[in-house]
Amino acid sequence: MSETIAFKPESLEQVHKIMARYPEGRQKSALLPVLHIAQKEFGGWLDVPVMDYVAELLSIKPIEVYEVATFYTMFNMKPVGKYVLEVCRTGPCMVCGSEKILDHIRTKLNIKDGQTTEDGMFTLKPAECLGACGYAPMLQLGKFFHENLTIEKVDEILDLCREGQIDLG
């Protein structure tokens, strides 16, 4: 385990609080919430030393963390941009024009799905159903949903990101 990896004291306190929600010996149940905290704190993705650190905290084997982290789509296994644009494209969002929104972002940022802009600012991640079907098309940015999107609204969001005015939660 890398010596330099450690949660901030307030995050560590949160981790211990989460671990206390489960019965003695069942601390592995805290893995998903702790991985969320780790991803947020360590640059938006989970590299091997971070996962090893989480394994040590929860007293489980590193492989138990790797197999979980790679299973769930919310965990990034490679570096991402400062702003990860997750655009839903399933069923209802498709019906309401998500492909146009995706195309616009691809063209405007000159990136393909899964890629990050050269300046490290944006990553585009098409997503499969985010539960905003009635407010489609939509994208998730950090903690929040941006719904009923239009091309103009997307441009506005991208500008706000560049100005550092978007709340990621």
């Binding site: 929600r21 019965p23 069942r26 592995k28 149940s29 805290a30 893995l31 998903l32 919430p33 991985l35 969320h36 929860l58 489980i60 138990e64 197999e67 979980v68 299973f71 769930y72 789509t73 919310m74 965990f75 494209r89 399933t90 069923g91 209802p92 498709m94 019906v95 309401c96 997503a127 499969e128 159903c129 985010l130 539960g131 905003a132 079907c133 009635g134 407010y135 489609a136 998730q140 950090g142 903690k143 929040f144 939660g169």
Partner: protein
Amino acid sequence: MSKKLLLKDAHVEGIRYFETYRKQGGYGAAEKALKMTAEEILEEVKASGLRGRGGAGFPTGMKWSFLAKPEGVPRHLVVNADESEPGTFKDRYLMEFLPHLLIEGMLISSFVLGSNVSYIYIRGEYSWIPDILEEAIEEAKAAGFLGKNILGTGFDCEIYVQRGGGAYICGEETALLESLEGKRGNPRLKPPFPAVKGLWERPTVVNNVESIAAIVPIIDITGAEYAKIGVGRSTGTKLISACGNINKPGVYEIDMTITVEEFIYSDEYCGGIPNGKKLKACIPGGSSVPIVPANLLLKTVNGEPRYMNYESLADGGFATGTMMGSGGFIVLDEDQCIVEHTMTLARFYNHESCGQCTPCREGTGWMYKILKKIEKGEGKMEDIDLLWDIQRKIEGNTICPLGDAAAWPVAAAIRHFRDEFEWHIKNPELSQTQNYGLANYADPIPAAASN
């Protein structure tokens, strides 16, 4: 106008907070329930006829009565808030705007089931909602409705929120439990059922958010009164999340006595289809339930009006009818391409397959590739039969129902819209630029449904 039970106070400003919820009569059902015995409450739930609102529609009271009660072994209630079915967003609405309704329902349910520690497993992408729920839990605890010796009854109950990691499969109850245990969300073989060996091998009941919220009005008005609302075995009210090509998308509470036509076209609900377009098809219960063309959606096989309830929607079985499912109501207008729509759903199920069972892991990807090819105008006529064959080999051959969920949309699309698949194959040059119009269908859209 439908009777409102769950959303009756949804318009009240500040209803998210304990003080306002309490002023509206909130936690009155909990106070009433905690003076009853667990058996008495269970009888009320059984009498209500409440069917699980997550999609399967299994009677909730019966499910609770299956819970094993071995001496000295803790039991758990787990609320399934992993709402990930395309078209379904009703639980999000409940948790976001009426968190105390869920907490109160959980308190009553936990009391019945003897669960001193209950969990809400919520899909990870609803990342702002755990804060709302945790705030509500703290408020309820401060008011003595959670924690130790609740209302002096000697009953202890803690509720915790667990965020998932973005896997649709975790909506399946055993996959959810695996995930809650900190593992990959791979479904378990059943039996044993969670009621016997669930979370950490302890007896566990897993219920949908809406089902648990419905416990509150059931106790408020009694199970017998709840059963009088609705029709037949479709008792009480149901939340429908409506989306797609409609003027007023959103979450509606219905008492299951209205017709599908009324739901789509009346101003009280969806408000019709934008720009005067005609109705082409609908998926009325979330993406996994069979799509139906307009004529079969609005009328039963006997030519009678179809109603928004479990029995009427399923009339005729999968061959002609569809299902209530989770109530995710997706409307498609005449401009929508069925092949493209089916392709996006196939991509979804392929993406979300946990990979544990070969028919699902391989079959969903295979179906997606074929549909993509047909949609791009690169398909062959025999691909349609191949698709049919693949979906047949997935359905019923997997550990969990994700296989069925992936197979049904493809089967229904071919069954009802085969002409459209053939058109894509016969007209590759038009496949990307034109739509297979409504006029090409042998069954005309009923006049009543036309704008």
